[in-house]
Symmetry: C2
Subunit: 139 residues, 2 copies
């Protein structure tokens, strides 16, 4: 996804003119947000995160739970989340191999925070759908 909100190469004083509050808010709020999304966005991250949230899950389980995901994308998503310190990968040196994924504390916290978004979505699901119909009807 990327979400490079662009911290801006420091506007020179003479170009800064209108709506400074909006610009300041943008720089203060948008960037950290972009960071979160850069870790969490990407078509599958959320799905994997939520699926892993309830205790250790194995690779193949995830492949089944997160429906529609390809083997490749599951691997990539897991690697990325692990790299960002959101997932713990535990390998059991058995044969056949067994690998379990679980959330770090940091990720569990994030998972809680995301719940607020879920609730927002559920509260406004209808309103959004209605807005779309209205918008589409108007052309």
């Amino acid at each position: 996804m990327s979400v490079e909100v662009g911290v801006g190469a420091g506007r020179t004083a003479d170009t800064a003119a209108t709506s400074d509050t909006a610009a300041e808010a943008f720089e203060k709020e948008a960037c950290p947000l972009a960071e979160v999304l850069d870790h969490v966005a990407g078509k599958w991250s959320i799905g994997v995160l939520v699926a892993v949230a309830h205790g250790p899950v194995r690779f193949t389980e995830l492949e089944r739970i997160v429906e529609g995901i390809s083997r490749r994308m599951l691997t990539l998503t897991l690697r990325r989340l692990e790299r960002d310190g959101l997932l713990i990968r535990t390998v059991y040196p058995t044969v056949p191999p067994k690998v379990e994924y679980s959330l770090t504390d940091m990720a569990r916290e994030l998972h809680g925070t995301l719940r607020a978004l879920t609730e927002w979505a559920e509260r406004h699901r209808g309103e959004i759908a209605a807005a779309r119909v209205r918008y589409d009807a108007a052309r």
Copy 2:
């Protein structure tokens, strides 16, 4: 972005076996979350949303505030947010034309919810960076 978390075409009873709690949580939580992200994700949406949050902003202002955005993407992002009922577009029939964007109540609520994410990001920024360094160093 898409985030099609895949509600799944209803697993047949015989295929459902392992880790049902994770699977159930996935279906209950991931999907609404995917919906939010489908409206809010997409490299520029958050930036625009935050920039618009502080009162009516004009098109050109946004083009300057949201640094790096192209004229094309700004338009597309605005249209999408408007369609989802998150933005209000007000046209003043003057010459030259003047168009102002502002958040709907629903979007303002969302903006508040996103603040929790911002805080999470700021709290764990260092931790994430450290995790990355550690991960990259380990190969």
